[in-house]
Amino acid sequence: MAKEITLAQLQKMAERSGLKLSDEDLEKLLPGVNRSHHQLLELRELITDSIEPAAAFVTSRTEKR
């Protein structure tokens, strides 16, 4: 089980992200941030080394003039 993120840690993370949020805003955010981190643990269980992300980059040729 991952450690819960604390309000103090969230404040630091917000500062690093260039966000000026009130304590009230951060307190409201905290449960959701922790929930999404727990969800990620479940998602990590699903993947193995061979799994690539579901994102496609398609290169294309530029015709010479």
Binding site: L19, D25, L29, V33, S36, L43, L46, I47, I51, A54
Partner: protein, 466 residues
Amino acid sequence: MTPTELSYLSITEAASGLRRKEFSPVDLTQACLKRIESIDGKLHSFITVTADLALEQARKAEQELRAGKDKGPLHGIPIALKDLYATKNIRTTCHSAVLQDWVPDHDAATVTKLREVGAVLLGKLGMHEFAFGGPSVDAPFPAVRNPWNTAHIPGGSSSGSGAALATGLCLGSLGSDTGGSIRTPSSHCSVVGMKPTYGRVSRYGVVPLSWSLDHAGPMARSVEDCAILLQAIAGYDPNDPASANVPVSDLRGELKNGIKGLRVGVPRANWFNENKGTDSETEAIFNDALKILEGLGAIVFEIDGQPFSLARKANQTILTAEAYAYHEKRFQEAPEKFGSSVRRRMLEGAFLSAADYITALRARTVLNEQIRANFSGVDTFVTPTAPRPPEAFETIDPNEQNLRPSFTNPFNLTGLPAISLPCGFTKDNLPVGLQIVAQPFEESTAFRVAYAYEQATEWHKRKPKL
């Protein structure tokens, strides 16, 4: 025919009436405008009413039809758009203070298509702010109310589309769907909404919420009307990097092919009972709908719901990360401009790492394969559209949605086409929707099942009393 009867016509009925010259596009448009003026004060479904433009377009359609220049079933039909579709010279707000004065210099690709087939634009509809969070109770425009009980939410984020259709304020609408935003308000307002396959309808000119999960699609009062609208807006668009160059079949023509022998998968186990589970009345209504499908010749199977349950978690991670990335600069500069609901939800994305986002995308690969593998044994999946009836504004719990299964999220993650249509009412007269999901680019299959169910039932004929 009274103005109210006119504004409640289906697109199919209105198109026939116009060609029989029983009424004109101007009569239809005036009927809708009159109804908007008389009842929308209770619902707040419209943010902007474009009455002058609508009447001008209706007059033009009337002249064209009279001159034999028939552009098809949407010619002269009054429609309205969720207020995140860019409309040239018409304010497009996303129901937000951030964009409340934005007047685009271009039309969304879908709006161009609707103009080309002669549809009449009545105006722009309320929504959840930036299509995310919950009802926008502190935005510059009032939150949309549910027409079946105005103390209840209409579902979102295409709230105005659901409420306006249910009350006969327009004949058709476009919504958008990133986690259920076409299907949930369709369910909560008892109308029909189709989230097409990812790539089927151009997103060009639709303000993004999450690029890899956003879908544009139609909402209407009947399955056939939804098929007509999708036929008009579907197709390849080079301006949308995700647009798919896949032919669109005759959606309306295939509606009546029946469902005898069609295999229907119900992913109930390990999903419907997730956390607080599915509301028992909703599940009972859904079970009755399954019996009707069986009566129509479908073969119903129970399948494992585990991958569908996990899909919500990947969907939420991708959605919040992409949504925050799109709005990051605005949040850094003026977070107070966002309403409280969207601010709380979107800012969660600021605290996800690049590795978190990639983990969710890798999980998407796995879940997509697991969910689609079921199609070797079934032709469609069916579920309730929402796990519970629309809750009251007073008792909204922002965490509630994480405590119930999301029946809509998995089909954004997988890009599968999914339709919601009315399938019953609770004892408190609140609507319940049935969701039907098909293989990629097989919207016609979902429409066919939905049409067969609709024709066998009367739910779509009920109208809310305001």
